[in-house]
């Protein structure tokens, strides 16, 4: 009957828009749930290509990268071919071809690909960042760090690159320089509680009384920005307890830090009680 067909078509349309919106949300929030992206994206491409319109190209790109993560080289190749056909000579597509070569561990060929992009357009940041990723993948962390520093001297505003550099320094246990990178990020994103918290963690790892006090302050700042940040709460408790336990502090500082640690303990207990009560509902 006609009514039944309408209902089914409506459900299909709802399902299709949901899938497309999910993909967009994952793309905008930088989720790396590649298995899900491949599942949803592959179905979208195969079944609903006509309804997507111009969105399909960015979905091809997103699905291709996810397919490389999931070792689905066939799907990645298909997406790449479609993009090559639609955008011949595009540098963004060339970069994707290079990424595919990287996934197949053909680092020399990938490097040549990026060099050709940089020859045509020396300001192309994407190709430079991929070259740095090749160095990272080959385990050459010192060179990767050096190249990334040079890149940041020219492109000082690139926040992703600063965060990447901080991660590289943390892997090398160079916490002072990692802290510097995180300071840059905190300056440009003063309302982001996560950068505050990561900075506090780095300072805490460095150790020493001064760094512990600084870390306690930044954990407190992270909590001020977001009072639901549990890691910052635990960090506040740990740093305050360590300062109180240190033999180098005088009695007043010790008393103050014990007070902070107790406050943090109470907050943590309360948070657990609230979430337990919520589970029971």
């Amino acid at each position: 009957t006609p009514v039944q067909t309408d209902w089914r078509v409506n459900v299909l349309i709802i399902v299709f828009t949901e899938m497309r919106d999910k993909l967009r949300k994952w793309r905008e929030d930088n989720h790396r749930n590649s298995e899900q992206i491949v599942d949803v994206g592959e179905e979208l491409i195969n079944e609903h290509a006509s309804k997507l319109g111009d969105d399909i190209w960015i979905i091809y790109e997103q699905v291709m990268i996810a397919a490389l993560d999931c070792s689905r080289d066939d799907l990645a190749w298909t997406c790449l071919q479609e993009l090559k056909r639609q955008f011949p000579g595009s540098q963004r597509v060339k970069r994707l071809a290079g990424m595919r070569l990287e996934a197949l561990e053909k680092y020399e060929d990938a490097s040549k690909q990026y060099d050709s992009i940089l020859q045509d357009d020396p300001t192309n940041t994407a190709a430079r960042k991929r070259k740095i990723s090749i160095l990272k993948a080959q385990g050459k962390s010192a060179e990767a760090i050096r190249e990334l520093n040079e890149y940041l001297e020219q492109f000082v505003g690139d926040q992703e690159a600063w965060h990447e550099l901080s991660e590289l320094y943390i892997n090398e246990h160079d916490y002072g320089k990692a802290a510097f990178c995180l300071e840059e990020l905190m300056m440009t994103n003063p309302h982001n509680h996560l950068y505050c918290e990561q900075y506090a963690e780095v300072k805490y790892t460095q150790g020493g009384l001064e760094n512990l006090e600084l870390s306690r302050k930044y954990f407190a700042q992270a909590l001020k920005l977001n009072n639901r940040n549990m890691r910052a709460l635990f960090g506040l408790y740990m740093s305050a307890s360590h300062i109180a336990a240190s033999p180098k502090v005088n009695a007043t500082v010790k008393k103050a830090n014990v007070k902070y640690a107790t406050w943090a303990t109470n907050q943590i207990n309360r948070a657990y009680q609230v979430s337990y009560a919520r589970c029971l509902l």
Binding site: S34, A137, N192, R228
Partner: protein, 130 residues
């Protein structure tokens, strides 16, 4: 998905606004012709302008999509390191996923770097130190 009703409301509001402006201009030229330049705009034109203004604003508010919080940090309350740590421009692909998701019938020998299998990464790193 913008409802076309609100778009029509904005259209009607803008049209009414334009109509009121046109009427006011005509009124002004009529006043100049009859040399009664002291008279203020007739009340119906004023009312039409105000009502059209309110209608347009109300319609635009419904079209413009979801409002964001004024507090800059509240948007970030739900953000976690799960997503903050991902740097799409720096993604690497030499992770376990290349092997984990590999279908069992596919040969593992499509890895061209055969030395990598015999010499895992940590031993390769140690080699550099000598």
């Amino acid at each position: 998905m913008v409802s076309s009703f609100w778009r029509d409301v904005v259209g009607v509001g803008l049209f009414a606004l334009a109509h009121a402006a046109f009427s006011a201009a005509q009124h002004r030229s009529y006043m100049r012709l009859t040399e009664k330049e002291n008279e203020t705009l007739p009340i119906d034109i004023v009312l039409q302008t105000l009502l059209a203004f309110v209608l347009t604003i109300y319609g635009i508010v419904h079209i413009s999509g979801e409002f964001k919080d004024m507090d800059a940090s509240s948007e970030l309350k739900n953000k976690t390191f799960d997503t903050l740590r991902n740097h799409p421009s720096f993604y690497m692909f030499n992770h376990r996923g290349r092997v984990l998701f590999c279908s069992p019938d596919r040969e593992v020998s499509n890895i061209p770097n055969a030395e990598a299998l015999r010499n895992p990464l940590r031993l390769r790193k140690l080699k550099h130190l000598h």
